[in-house]
């Protein structure tokens, strides 16, 4: 009798091991080192709880914590108040030009929030266009700086998440349910409140939680428009810069608190949702009712007003980028001075942005197609865990991830501090989930039997993946890459921590210009960013059947 020969680990086992190692190094090690340092004394390196005690006792930190929660909740609430009515109008009424509205919503979604903050200053700031116009006729505008501005920017930035998710859910409600409520004596408002809204609650809350998590993680908006209002992400950044050289203990402790808040928000939402999963058989599809007269004016007014409000920042930056300048001062009239200036002063920022984003996207494309194969095709504990682990980058704020990288990869042969590699790796790990999600949703539609047929014909697993699977999931890889590119090129919060003079990117340059009052340069760079982002959105729309769904 011969013993069964020990077979070598297969191709996919190797890939799985490699994936685990990669996630351990690039995701868990930085987070773990942040976690460990948060329990160390800044000077002696001894174990201590003092950092946390400070955060929960000192006014400076408590105020920032309170502010963060307030802007998170208020931003989320504002986004809901804009997103839900928009979704309702779009899914229940015949709105003219609906694709224009959904395109505007997507464009508002992908443009970085700090551009929104800066554009609103251009309009409503101390020297803003609207402020000056109103002042001329004797109306004093309340200041846009501070809490009010942050919340305004967040609401207008994040409502598309809620809109896209809610509209999708509203379209999926079996019409019979609303008919049944009407038949039992419910008025239109009663039906919406008692049947429709509870049924779309899971979708609304998912969108709301994304808005909340992104709101509390955002650095650019409070930094630009917040003035005296500090949030956890801005104080983490300023602590980090002031602790530069020593151990960034307070910065990482703040980071841990931010991660904890995000995780808590997600847990609460999961818990609430656990009891509310409604599988429904769709036999009766929703019909969009025609609108006329006053109702039509109302419906079109609401939908276009909300969508346009989200687009205002883009219009403003493009407009101001073409205003003639003299140094940092707008001299009136139109001109290309701002573009001339970025061409002479910041060509490296533009080049860096594209190079870093493209490198990160190339990595994301390769790794996400391998990972999605593991997640979708391999039924094991690890593949299930991978699916969950890929949620983590969503939860970790950019500032935190960057601090984690700096505190981890800072010595010996793996010293990456100040290198372009670090920026690319941070962007890669932060945006990897977009690629995996898009690729795996396409892969789920490919029948495994196609791959099995190739293997049965004698093709090795690796070759089958390259020759059969990859071509089949190419649309998903391309859409995922475009999505990652959009988010990668707009990345600010992590890059700001790790950039050096040679690795400055467009978002960083825009932020620095706004801080220096160089609004013309900021506008021209923002326009370059906005146009390249818009181009990607256009490509996603052209290449994907389920257009808007890619963005949420």
């Amino acid at each position: 009798m011969t013993l069964p020969r020990l077979s070598l680990p297969s191709f996919w086992t190797w890939i799985m091991v490699a994936a685990c190692v990669m996630l351990a190094v690039l995701l868990f090690w930085p987070i773990l080192s942040v976690f460990v340092i948060s329990f160390e004394d800044g000077d002696t390196g001894q174990f201590t709880l003092e950092n946390y005690v400070q955060i929960f006792t000192r006014r400076y930190y408590l105020t920032a914590l309170g502010n963060t929660l307030i802007v998170g909740f208020a931003g989320m609430l504002g986004a809901c108040l804009l997103g839900v009515p928009l979704a309702f109008c779009m899914s229940r009424f015949q709105v003219r030009g609906r694709s224009i509205i959904s395109t505007m919503a997507v464009l508002a979604l992908v443009s970085p929030p700090f551009i929104g903050a800066y554009a609103w200053i251009m309009l409503l700031g101390n020297n803003g266009a609207i402020t000056n116009a109103l002042e001329a006729i004797g109306i004093d505008m309340p200041s846009i700086y501070g809490m009010r501005g942050i919340i305004l920017v967040f609401a207008l930035k994040f409502f598309p998440f809620i809109y896209l998710m809610t509209e999708n859910a509203l379209n999926g409600i079996n019409k019979s349910l609303e008919d049944a409520a009407e038949n039992l004596g419910c008025t239109a408002w009663g039906r919406f409140r008692k049947v429709t809204l509870p049924l779309v609650f899971p979708a609304v809350s998912t969108g709301a939680i994304i808005s909340f998590v992104l709101s509390i993680a955002d650095f650019g908006t409070p930094a630009i428009i917040g003035r005296g209002v500090r949030t956890l992400s801005t104080i983490a950044y300023s602590q980090y810069t002031s602790e530069m050289g020593g151990k960034p203990t307070m910065a990482v402790t703040i980071s841990m608190v931010m991660i904890a808040i995000s995780m808590l928000a997600l847990l609460i939402q999961r818990r609430v949702l656990a009891k509310r999963r409604y599988a429904s058989s769709m036999t009766h599809k929703q019909v969009k009712a025609p609108v006329s007269g006053g109702k039509s004016v109302l419906v079109h007014g609401v939908t276009y007003a909300i969508a346009l409000a989200g687009m205002i920042p883009a219009f403003v930056v493009i407009w101001t980028s073409f205003i003639a300048t003299n140094g940092p001062v707008f001299s009136g009239g139109f001109g290309l001075d701002s573009y001339r200036r970025i061409w002479s002063e910041a060509p490296d920022a533009i080049a860096n942005s594209f190079i870093f984003a493209l490198c990160a996207v190339a990595l994301i494309a390769v790794v996400s197609s391998l990972l999605s194969f593991i997640v979708v095709r391999r039924e094991s504990f690890i593949s299930g865990a991978l699916d969950l682990i890929l949620m983590v980058p969503y939860l970790v704020p950019g500032v935190v991830m960057a601090i984690g990288f700096v505190t981890t990869f800072n010595s010996g042969w793996y010293n990456l501090v100040g290198t372009a590699t670090m920026i690319v790796l941070i962007v890669f790990i932060r945006r990897l989930p977009y690629g995996v999600r898009s690729t795996s949703s396409v892969l789920r539609q490919v029948k495994p039997s196609i791959e099995e047929a190739a293997i049965a014909l004698g093709s090795s697993p690796a070759k089958t993946f390259l020759k059969v699977t990859v071509p089949l999931i190419m649309p998903g890889i391309i859409v995922g890459s475009l999505m990652s590119f959009i988010t990668a090129i707009n990345e600010l919060s992590s890059t700001l921590i790790v950039y050096t003079s040679s690795t400055v990117t467009m978002p960083v340059k825009i932020y620095l210009s706004v801080v220096d009052g160089e609004f013309g340069v900021a506008a021209a760079l923002s326009t370059v960013l906005t146009v390249s982002t818009g181009l990607c959105v256009f490509l996603v729309f052209r290449l994907s059947e389920d257009r808007e769904a890619n963005f949420v």
Binding site: D179, N183, L184, P198
Partner: protein, 353 residues
Amino acid sequence: MADVHLKSVRKSYGSVLALSEINIQIPSGDFFTLLGPSGCGKTTLLRAIAGFHAHDSGEIVVNGTDIGRLPAHKRNVGMVFQDYAVFPHVSVRDNVSFGLKERKVPKAEITRRVDEILDKVQLRPFAERMPHALSGGQQQRVGLARALVVQPTLLLMDEPLSNLDAKLRVDLRRELRSVQQSMNMTTVYVTHDQEEALAMSDTVCVMYGGVIQQAAAPWEIYHRPANRFVAAFVGSNNFLPIVDGTVAGVTVPLPADVPAKGAELALRPENLAIVTGTVPDGMVGLPATVDQVAFTGREISVALHLSDGQEVQAICEPDEALLSLPHGSAAQLCFDPAKAQVFEADVTGRRLA
């Protein structure tokens, strides 16, 4: 309890006529079934009564008042849906009490009435469950209880059993009928299942192309169909063209007014007999060739073709001799001319005899 009177109800979608001049009178307590193939307008008519879409003209009179222009939530008609439409986000009890809460019924009375109706549909032990924990049949009983508990003037049911499996369908059919009878509830029921329609209804109303073909008691519908469509849709029928008083070359005794062309003889399969010897007295025999004999337990179904190639289906009492007839053997297809009917050859051709 209510009597319903539909007066010249019309509805069209663009140029497509969905309902044309519907005139129906439904006496109080009647179980009135709208039967027809898909697209015949039966669901459109039901939803017009419920108020889910407006009809173009005509009146929907319930107990002497026209409810046709009231909004749906003010009509007080109960409706049971094909897909149950049980609210997935609330319990069985909250589903059933939904309409009572809308009507601002006092709390204690809600509890009492909900318990009562849940007893009636045998769901009392499931009152606190969520809908996803119920089977399809149970969910539809929730739908029924929810519609009945508000004491509607009229109950509407839109193919309520079509999503259930066959065995359950028959059980729930009986249950629906007995609940309806015990409450003496005027009911308009939509189905495309002819057996269901015949088994449950006081009146069956056959629709086709937005037009009522015939509204009558089940027996009447089956035995005296008003036109060729009803004869073909309810039960099965063999239609054989009549040419100059003959069918497949055999002279058949026919009433005098049957035209020489453009008429068809309708023979129900169960009225046909197959003999290999001589044709019995008073019957007409058509020479035929046996194609296939299938034994289904309760009966034998025989497929034959006549001398002119027309295919005929016959259903006979189980008989071993018949079962052993080989493929291709010659036989006589016999029928009693008194049980044969004559229709104009058109889809909705009139009955001539």
